[in-house]
Amino acid sequence: MWDLVAAVAGPPVRLFVLIIVLSAAALAADFVVPQFREWTRLFLLVSAGAAAMGPAIDAVRMMDGLVGKMTGLFLGIYPVLAAGMAAAGGALSLINWNPAVFLFVQGAVVIGGKWMVPLLIVSFILDYLSRLVPEIPFTRISEMIRVTLLGAISVIIACYSLFITATGAMAWSSGSAIAEPIKALLRQHVPLVGSFITDTMGVVGKYSSGMAPIAGSYLIVALLVTSLTPVAYVLLTAFLYKWIAALCEPFAHEDLAGLFDDIGKTLFVLCGIMLVVAFAIFYTAILSIVLIKVIAGAG
């Protein structure tokens, strides 16, 4: 866990040090040569802005790579999985799976790769350009992109919830009395995507508690940790951007603090997309395990 935190925190901490150095240089330049104030601001925004994009674009590219791998995995494994399920007969009644879920998993991955990642990068760029020339703002377009993406994610998650809970076999049994306050806390305090996180947690929880007798609870926990690690990575990066924005607000140029704030906001949306992909990974792994069990005659 601490390895993950150290790996995530490294680039933003270096970025923060760079911002401090650049801001100090800009403040000194403003004091010594006030007539070049415009140029100082331009150089500060270009250098610090380009550096700020680094960790954010890294997170988006990680997501892009993950989605690409998932697409390959789905295309390879799903026909085999579906055929095996059909051939095994009893599997259909055993886990109450629905073939339409394949469509949603595939759809989520394709939409995530083809539309969401490019739109997020465009959103980063438009935020940056609006800070570069404040008189020509693109803030509403990038806000609209974020809101549209959040809407699309919420529809996909709602569809998952419908399909998983409609089968009725799974119940959220693992200590809901403890889980509810944690959910309420997350919903209120994680900006933008808090309710998505809790909803997906509920869906995954329901599904995994239904699957635990078949696949084994240790395996379920291992799968959950593996599939949710990228989500944790993006969430931590988003919070680090928010913290950098808060810390450098008193002394850095106000456009820089605003830029970090906007990057943080966009990364929270990316975190929502990652949740959908994480759920797709989890679902595929579980289905593969169930299929192997059925074929081996242990299910």
Binding site: L42, L132, E135
Partner: protein, 50 residues
């Protein structure tokens, strides 16, 4: 689409440098002209066939 975004980055970059060259007062006068350039560029997105 990506070509259009790359072009937009160039355009805004040129406008930012022009704004810095002109200075605060002159910049105010030239801003309508700059906005017109951005408007024409956005129109290109809708008129281009691809």
């Amino acid at each position: 689409m990506w070509e259009w975004i790359a072009g937009l980055i160039w355009l805004i970059g040129i406008l930012a440098v022009t704004g810095a060259v002109l200075g605060q007062d002159e910049r105010e006068n030239f801003m309508p002209l700059m906005k017109l350039a951005v408007l024409l560029y956005i129109l290109r997105l809708f008129t281009s066939s691809d």
